[in-house]
């Protein structure tokens, strides 16, 4: 009986062997997350203090195969399967999951950001009255979604990865569950996110209907007809709108400020950096791999999104008096800069991808750093109001200096990181001397000036204005938060002074073909 069964299965499925090395980062994260859950279930309160350390270790261990894959670049790109010429069904297996330099850089970025987020969360979570072990399990699951996203070249896995990133984030946004603002944050984020997913699915189903395949490369081949058709345009527009919600591009940004303000602050950092980066990765994968021939549809649409995103984000950020909300709107504006290279990707898709990923890497360092300072300051002031940052130089000069570095970087002032990110974007925009690119570069430049005003206003508050309540007692900074600030300061400075470090890694060749 069982013999028949085995032969039946063997006849039905001739499966090539799995390339374990290529999916090792995902597997380690999955196993590590499960381990954290089980340990928490067995020993409960006794290991509560160890859970954050354990989770951050899982992230670091998962980084090891990312590095070995990178170092062993000879076999790249790899997929989920070791393709064997003797297996006839090869075509079916290829292309949905691709491990190349592009996805490895992103996996490294996601794992390191997650590590810093755990550092930021440790004290916040253990000092408040939260369910903290589950919080770390959710973070691990969300990061796993990001890793899968970096390698996905297929509509189904992109969608599942996007949901795996988002659903834990909806839950964590409401984690301060006895605070009405946090309830609002979670609910608003979930409703808008689900709405966006529905629109995204609609667009994807149109693309699938046209191509008859969910593989991005098959879609690219099916719509390569030298012109555009209304139904292709509809599919593209719906898909991009869906991603627009995830990256909080204007006019799909309305959830962002309330969610950012109400959510636990470490989670806000997670949303503003890692979750947003995952949305961008999905957008890049679809635009660069599936739509290289539809630039005449994609470019104008993204051009408009980028222009209004940076402008509206900056103008509203100018009026904010709460630093978390200001960082939320500044994050919206930064998303505009990151969208910009995709508005001129036709013919230079590798350069455009490099520029976006460079921006994502540097943005992660400086924005996580800024949130780290906000979390530290809130330990003393219990507030994120701009005025409560007055006089910080008097009682926390080191912290003030760190924040100033992050703010200069966000504003794009050399020599710290942000200028190189902006420089790359401008270089791509002006490459090829296209009117649309140069116009967008001008808009971005004007916006950088507006942004500099409110970023430097925060710095002014910290350096020159007196403390609002005259309380100049020092802030005790826990080691985890100190490490987070140290790491992000180092990354921000290095990426600005030695931009080659970042740009060597993000110099991609032939992303579309999966290398």
């Amino acid at each position: 009986m069982s013999g028949t069964f085995v032969t039946l299965v063997a006849a039905e499925i001739e499966r090539p062997s799995i390339d374990w090395h290529a999916i090792a980062p995902e597997l380690i994260l999955l196993g590590g997350g499960a381990l954290v859950t089980v340990i928490d279930l067995i020993w409960l309160e006794r290991v509560r203090k160890l859970i954050p350390t354990l989770t951050s270790l899982v992230f670091l261990v998962a980084l090891i195969p990312v590095i070995t894959l990178w170092a062993d670049g000879s076999g790249l790109p790899r997929g989920l399967w070791i393709i064997d010429e003797n297996v006839p069904a090869t075509g079916v297996w290829e292309g949905a999951f691709v491990v190349d330099n592009y996805s490895l850089v992103l996996k490294g970025l996601f794992l390191l950001s997650a590590y810093v987020i755990v550092l930021l969360s440790t004290n916040y979570m253990s000092e408040g009255d939260y369910y903290d072990s589950e919080y770390y399990q959710l973070i691990a699951a969300s990061v796993l979604g990001m890793l899968v996203m970096s390698s996905s070249r297929d509509l189904i896995s992109i969608f599942v990865a996007l949901e795996l990133v988002s659903i834990p984030a909806y839950l964590m946004a409401a984690w301060r569950k006895r605070d009405l603002k946090s309830n609002e944050a979670g609910l608003k984020y979930m409703l808008m996110g689900v709405f966006a997913s529905a629109i995204l699915l609609y667009g994807m189903s149109l693309l699938y209907g046209i191509a008859g395949s969910t593989l991005l490369s098959d879609i690219a081949a099916a719509i390569d007809i030298g012109e555009s058709r209304p139904v292709i345009t509809l599919g593209i527009v719906f898909t991009i709108i869906g991603f627009g919600f995830k990256v909080s591009a204007v006019p799909f940004h309305t959830w962002a400020p309330d969610t950012y303000e109400g959510a636990p602050t470490p989670l806000t950092a997670f949303l503003a950096v890692a979750s947003k980066a995952a949305g961008f990765v999905a957008l890049i994968n679809v635009v660069i791999v599936a739509l290289p021939t539809q630039a005449n549809v994609v470019e104008p649409f993204i051009w408009v999104l980028a222009a209004i995103t940076m402008t509206v984000g900056n103008l509203i950020a100018l009026r904010q008096t709460n630093l978390v909300r200001m960082l939320a709107y500044s994050g919206v504006a930064q998303a505009g800069y990151m969208l910009a290279p995709l508005a001129v990707y036709d013919g230079i898709s590798d350069r455009a991808t490099s520029a976006v990923v460079t921006y994502l890497v540097i943005y992660a360092a400086m924005n996580l750093g800024a949130f780290a300072v906000v979390i530290i300051a809130a330990r003393k002031t219990r507030s994120a109001e701009l005025s409560s940052y007055g006089g910080m130089f008097n009682y926390a000069p080191g912290l003030t200096l760190a924040m100033t570095i992050f703010l200069f970087s966000l504003a794009g002032i050399p020599p710290v990181g942000g200028w190189w990110a902006k420089f790359e974007v401008f270089r791509v925009l002006t490459e090829g001397n296209r009117t649309s690119g140069i116009a967008l570069a001008v808009i971005a430049a004007v916006n950088s000036v507006i942004a500099a005003f409110y970023y430097l206003n925060i710095a002014k508050q910290m350096w020159f204005l007196p403390s609002p309540d005259g309380d100049n007692s020092r802030i005790a900074i826990p080691p985890a938060l100190l490490a987070a600030v140290g790491l992000t300061v180092a990354a921000t400075i290095v990426s600005g002074v030695l931009p080659g470090v970042v740009s060597d890694m993000t110099d991609f060749v032939n992303v579309a073909a999966g290398q």
Binding site: E12, L138, L234
Partner: protein, 196 residues
Amino acid sequence: MMELIVFVISAAIVLGGALGVILFRNPVHAALSLIASFFGVAVLFVSQEAHFLALVQVVVYGGAIVVLFLFVIMLLGVDREEDITEEPFEGQRVSALVSGVLIFAMLMAGIFLSGRTGDDAGDFGPAAISGSSGQVVPLTEEQDVVQLGHDLFTRNILAFEATGLLLTIATVGAVVLVRNRGAEDLVVDEPGTSSR
């Protein structure tokens, strides 16, 4: 011909059920007419020879999910008639109607204008979208369950596993969010970063 008749009848049930969901005053009736709509879709699946999907459609959607809806309706005690003449937000109905009609018109125009236009560039119209132009791989003699299993455990194995994790983690999070340790009240302004 037979297929057309089946299609027209089941499409009428799908649309009628969907209209019922938004027009019935009693939420229980709305949930029940959702079942009708799901059944119509199941019949459409059968006529496309996707028997397994039809079964799943009835068992999971018609059964489990609508029962869940009814549970929630009963638990919240809203099983009474709602006054649907009053709008929760001013102008909500009108703008919903206008945007619905616009999106519908846009989709229809998009699909029908993409049909063959005389050149050789290919057909992207209704035939392509519905799969009747032969772009969609037809079912082989294998049963669709076998094909579905094949697809799930080979090409889409990673997405499949990720979905499993997603369901687990959503359960964990949902339990945490609804769990109540004793009588705790909502604190409107917990110390933290929120300030207003």
